[in-house]
Symmetry: C2
Subunit: 121 residues, 2 copies
């Protein structure tokens, strides 16, 4: 058992839209990701997904609205709800994600952004 | 779907060692708690428990060591491992917990601190 410093872990990678795993809690994982620009529209059919914003402002687009999630805030995207994260003004946003070990970040969509396993850091 | 401001939620309660639920992710929950002084020694036989420190410095005592968890850090206490959270110097520490909906905060121990359900805020 040891403490994990979130910002120190963010220094260990630089690529955007490329989650890294920092912890596992039962069958769920804690991921860090650096987001910049617009991701892809996708749905997680079986899993909820929590985004906690550590730095910057994240925008989660849904089909009927966009929700702003600021530093110190979090949002849960329920399973089955199509969404597309984005950032504005070329800002790199740091998020901590909490989700099932089984989740793929691009959900039901295979894209060039899809990675099949997350590096542990 | 809406954003949840962590510090605003902390303003909604004051009692120490009394977790409040701010979100659910699949079969896990996000709890906020204000900790001050020493809790009780206990074990969660079936569930891991994540502590993320939002304000202050938390100390998790294990039988063989104590781990300091500072603001911006987190720790996972694995299932089956006896532990006792504490704070020092009369500091009130704010933590966010991720754990199974089934978890009791006092684990295998019934104490006057045990609550059987967490208020939703």
């Amino acid at each position: 058992m040891k403490s994990i410093n979130i910002n120190s872990k963010f220094e260990k990678f630089s690529k955007n839209w490329n989650p890294h795993q920092i912890a596992v809690v039962d069958d769920m994982q804690v991921l860090l990701a650096k987001l910049k620009g617009e991701f892809i529209w996708h749905t997680h059919e079986e899993e909820d997904e929590l985004f906690q914003v550590i730095k910057g402002t994240l925008y989660i687009q849904f089909r009927d609205k966009t929700v702003e999630v600021k530093e110190g805030e979090l949002i849960v995207v329920p399973k089955g709800v199509e969404h597309c994260p984005m950032t504005k003004n070329d800002e790199e946003v740091h998020v901590m994600l909490f989700e099932k070990l089984s989740v793929k970040h691009t959900g039901n969509v295979e894209s060039e952004l899809t990675v099949n396993s997350y590096p542990k850091i």
